[in-house]
Subunit: 341 residues, 2 copies
Amino acid sequence: MTQVRNKQVILRDYVSGFPKESDMIIVDSTINLNLPQGSNELLLKNLYLSCDPYLRILMTKDTTSGIGALTPGSPLTGLGVSKVVESGHPDYKKDDLIWGMTKWEEYSLVPATGMFKIEHTDVPLSYYTGILGMPGMTAYAGLFEVGTPKKGENVFVSAASGAVGQLVGQFAKLTGCYVVGSAGTKEKVDLLKNKFGYDEAFNYKEEHDLNAALKRYFPEGIDIYFENVGGKTLDAVLLNMKVHGRIPVCGMISQYNLTQPEGITNLAHIIYKRIRMEGFGVFEYYHLYTKFLEFVLPLIREGKIAYVEDIAEGLENSPAALVGLFSGQNVGKQVVVVTHE
Amino acid sequence: MTQVRNKQVILRDYVSGFPKESDMIIVDSTINLNLPQGSNELLLKNLYLSCDPYLRILMTKDTTSGIGALTPGSPLTGLGVSKVVESGHPDYKKDDLIWGMTKWEEYSLVPATGMFKIEHTDVPLSYYTGILGMPGMTAYAGLFEVGTPKKGENVFVSAASGAVGQLVGQFAKLTGCYVVGSAGTKEKVDLLKNKFGYDEAFNYKEEHDLNAALKRYFPEGIDIYFENVGGKTLDAVLLNMKVHGRIPVCGMISQYNLTQPEGITNLAHIIYKRIRMEGFGVFEYYHLYTKFLEFVLPLIREGKIAYVEDIAEGLENSPAALVGLFSGQNVGKQVVVVTHE
């Protein structure tokens, strides 16, 4: 039996309001680096962890979302890139690289179900927490399967420099759409215009009248709004949608920390403009993952798509990295490096 | 030249808040009962006029709806059943019965475009303002084309005894769904259960907690919510939708008279449950009208569908009939009889 240290990030208690670093504690645990007798699970060494907005939803006790919750006193669970230390499952063997649900700790014992084996390693491994993982698939499925963009259509993306938004904008540009993004700092707005190729971008914090801002960038209206934030942005967007507009609803990050969400008052425009507003879950589209890789890997290799990560080094810095998502501290996809292998 | 009296219902001015009878005035005008030389229009004798909630939207001056507006000082326009007095259009001749857009007056000169010729007269002519007209097509298209019900699914209908709601519920029952409706009086709730065959029905005015009411009738959640009212009902419904639920958005009558619409706070459930919420306009489905008649006429003739009208006699009573829609005075489809032929 090989006992080693296993640093963990423990959820202290359920969270209400904005999460704080102190909602998580770092502890040194130990773990046996041998798989239990007869186990069909995987023993993983975690390399990269993904900081995702949906984790906030799982930190609420009386979640009405019905999508489960984290357990206080236990390590956070989330998506990550890991190396197989020992496998009890025939599909995986020692030293395989995989991505999927793991825990916020150095080593994890997890079920093998729902894991993706990493076949392509000529790209940074951390990309499998983002452009080649769940956020990439989210952008792909949400834009193409739910939003169904056509060349020449007008697309608006909120949280546009985030893990998902930066890809949605670029995928829409590749489709021949006019694309505008909103973000919360000048640095992010510059990224949108100069790195991600958005046609226009604006800082929503500097717009006192979001309706007027949208009318400025979309004098003829919006065909597709890729919804990441909810709240006031959604309300202003509804006033500016075109007939038969589509709103793929990916997230509503502005609302997750509010005990009483903001009220949306312009929903009647769904009737006036015959709008389709549709929530989606990326996990229902993973059958398209191979097709997605065939689409996105060449774009990465040929430098036809840009991708920005915000890297936090070490589990010690992971609470701050996660909390920072909700005040927009991250620039691009927020990743935590547990170890560089 | 045959000049005759032409009683008209004139919109006095744009309306804000709840409409009042005094927002309309009855005047005696005159009309020449000969078609102008070279006209390709239709001169109609109006028989039945349809009171529809959407008319309220057209009474607002600064409509952001983009669906046009009525003109103060002119007669109201709306759907009706009429007899052709003289036709300048090759598709119609004297004494043809038609339904389509006409004006709130005894005789109207209107374009022939968009009119439907009435071929089946073994049913009451007034039905072409309702079950055989726009509201019938609305129920049919909204439920079957947008809602896509499957046998055994759970369907909730608001304003369920109205022109559209009473048909949605019956169509859903014919599909093998479990169907619950809400309405605003005991009389209407009784109609829903005893005449329209709803499985359950409740008076929303007697429910202090709409969320609790919906949980009582839908312990396993709602697959399809046919949205007619908006506001608090929609907010409670969002908490009770099932995964992959659908919300065909037909109307939001509770909101049309508010200067500041109520805020909807539970939209994040669109993500959690992957809900599709979709506004639709019946005018985009009229290519299905013949198919619809083939579906619904046998149901009427064989007594397999119930249909309740609320008849107001005479143009003098039309302002009260229209205004009554917004406080739920009508029981069933509100029709105004201009003349019994």
